[in-house]
């Protein structure tokens, strides 16, 4: 019975369609809007990626005294715009000609990329592995985080260590925001509030990290012998329960912070002063 066409490829008989399992053709039988969460996650992350890529490569409009965009802080090349009291330290000298944001963003990017929450978010949202619980994934093979490159996710704690000084510098930036545009101390504008909110969220996100929870106390076997670390672990545990919310809140706040500086730097708005 040669028809001249290739026979259709046999149905992939793995996973829920494995011959030993209950014979149900559907990939899933969920009746709720299971696709909504991964779709929203993907959309949100994508929006941030587009925005931050544009801003990181823009190499412009990131400073409006006294505010520096968190994307460009600390600014580590000679091509940075001058900022009084920093945070620009030209450690990379003059050979760096690309956007100085690229030098520093690698750290928060790595921190978030290897974060246990973001991993879940993009594995589900972008990679559909799985798209949602009990919804069959489209891949024919899966090795998880057992091989290169995903085995590198185990480096999360080093990015956590790196995220600490970055958060420290952003704190310093927030202190500098208590100046006015002439660098006189003891003033606040709307921008100062934006920076304050952002830094609180950045710290909360950083400290609620699963690696932090482990390092601060989770790795201990006997809490009773380390009462201080136990108490710290309990606090971090409470924050950790909100890690997802903090991840989103700080992602949005850091983008808003940058956007606020952009609006000031381009002269679109002026900073409303409080005192």
């Amino acid at each position: 019975m040669a028809t001249g066409t290739e026979p259709p490829r046999p149905r992939q008989l793995t996973g829920v369609h494995d011959t030993s399992r209950a014979a149900i053709a559907a990939r899933h039988l969920r009746t709720d809007r299971w696709w909504l969460a991964p779709a929203a996650t993907a959309a949100g992350l994508l929006a941030f990626v587009v925005y931050s890529t544009w801003r990181a490569f823009a190499n412009a409009d990131y400073y409006a005294a006294p505010y520096v965009s968190p994307f460009y802080s600390p600014c580590l090349a000679e091509n940075c715009v001058p900022m009084q009291d920093g945070p620009n330290w030209p450690v990379f000298g003059s050979w760096w000609t690309l956007s100085p944001a690229l030098l520093i963003l690698i750290f928060p990017l790595g921190f978030r990329l290897t974060c246990y929450y973001y991993r879940k978010a993009y594995y589900r949202g972008f990679w559909a592995s799985p798209p949602a619980c009990a919804v069959a994934e489209p891949h024919s093979a899966y090795t998880g985080e057992t091989r290169f490159p995903l085995i590198l996710q185990n480096m999360h704690r080093y990015f956590f260590y790196a995220a600490l000084p970055v958060a420290g510098i952003l704190t310093y930036d927030t202190v500098l925001a208590f100046r006015d545009s002439t660098y006189a101390w003891g003033h606040m504008g709307l921008g100062t509030l934006v920076f304050l909110v952002n830094i609180v969220l950045i710290w909360a996100y950083t400290l609620s990290c699963h690696s932090c929870r482990h390092i601060i106390g989770g790795r201990l076997r006997h809490f009773s012998k380390h009462p201080v670390r136990y108490r710290l672990w309990s606090w971090v545990g409470k924050l950790n329960a909100r890690h997802m919310q903090l991840a989103w809140a700080s992602l949005i706040s850091v983008a808003l912070c940058d956007f606020y500086v952009y609006l000031l730097a381009t002269g679109t708005i002026t900073d409303p002063r409080i005192f």
């Binding site: 996973g15 039988l29 899966y142 998880g144 790795r219 076997r221």
Partner: protein
């Protein structure tokens, strides 16, 4: 007092069949106020399908026998109240889809018992007689959370590592038994190390911890509300990192040789 006055007819689709094949069959059953899905299955057995196979036991969410998938979601039938559905909707019940089917709603869950055997048991500390064990509550809290597990195997069912990839079953213990490894590693008196057993290392090397991509479906389905991912799997991953990818911690443990 009884709720017969408030009864209504609900439509169900229930998978019937065995390893040879099967299909979703339609049923219309009476439902009364306050009932759960398992009650309806029992009513079907008593009135329309005497040989409908289903596993159940305690009817109170404590034994973990009546696991199935209701409208595509892994659930305990005894803990799914009919009031969570609208009267119009058709409710679909299938057996767990990660395990071989036996008949109707009953699956072969021997995978889980095999995996249970692969986790080395608690190692009692030398030199402590029965009755001499002293442990502080804060030190047993974490393992106690994991011991709430009723072994309904919903987490094993929903986990895409094995649900979607039969071939991973050999290498991957599944959330329930990785949590068992975590439970023992956090047990204040487990003396595995004295026998040369490093649970942190074997979690990754023998029980397939690396397959877990922490997408949290296990936590989502757990009827006991155990934070499997946050409290067991991720801490276990961090402990594996201590052993395998963190030279500082490794060095420190070699120098101080102190168990905290």
């Amino acid at each position: 007092m009884t709720a017969t006055g408030t009864g209504y007819d609900a439509r169900f689709r229930i998978w019937r069949g065995d390893a040879e094949g099967g299909e979703l069959r339609d049923f219309t059953v009476e439902v009364h106020e306050g009932e759960v899905v398992l009650d309806i299955v029992h009513r079907l057995q008593a009135t329309q399908a005497a040989d409908l196979a289903v596993r159940w036991n305690c009817k109170a969410g404590k034994c973990g026998s009546c696991s199935a998938e209701i409208n595509g979601r892994p659930r305990l039938m005894c803990m799914t109240r009919m009031s969570t559905f609208s009267r119009e909707e058709t409710i679909t019940i299938t057996p767990l889809r990660a395990f071989p089917v036996v008949r109707d709603l009953v699956t072969d869950v021997s995978f889980n018992y095999t995996k249970a055997r692969e986790v080395p048991a608690f190692v009692p500390p030398q030199g402590l007689a029965p009755g001499e064990y002293r442990m502080q509550q804060v030190d047993v809290d974490r393992s106690q959370e994991f011991r709430k597990c009723i072994e309904c195997f919903l987490c094993q069912d929903t986990c895409h590592v094995v649900r979607d990839h039969e071939e991973n079953k050999a290498a991957f213990a599944g959330p329930r038994f990785l949590m068992r490894v975590a439970e023992l590693d956090m047990h204040p008196l487990d003396a595995a190390e004295s026998e040369g057993l490093d649970r942190k290392r074997t979690a990754q090397e023998e029980h397939g911890l690396g397959y877990c991509n922490i997408t949290k479906c296990c936590t989502e389905v757990c009827p006991e509300g155990i934070k499997i991912t946050d409290n067991a799997l991720i801490p276990l991953k961090e402990r594996a990192v201590d052993r395998k990818y963190d030279p500082l911690v490794w060095l420190g443990s070699k120098i101080s040789r102190r168990r905290d």
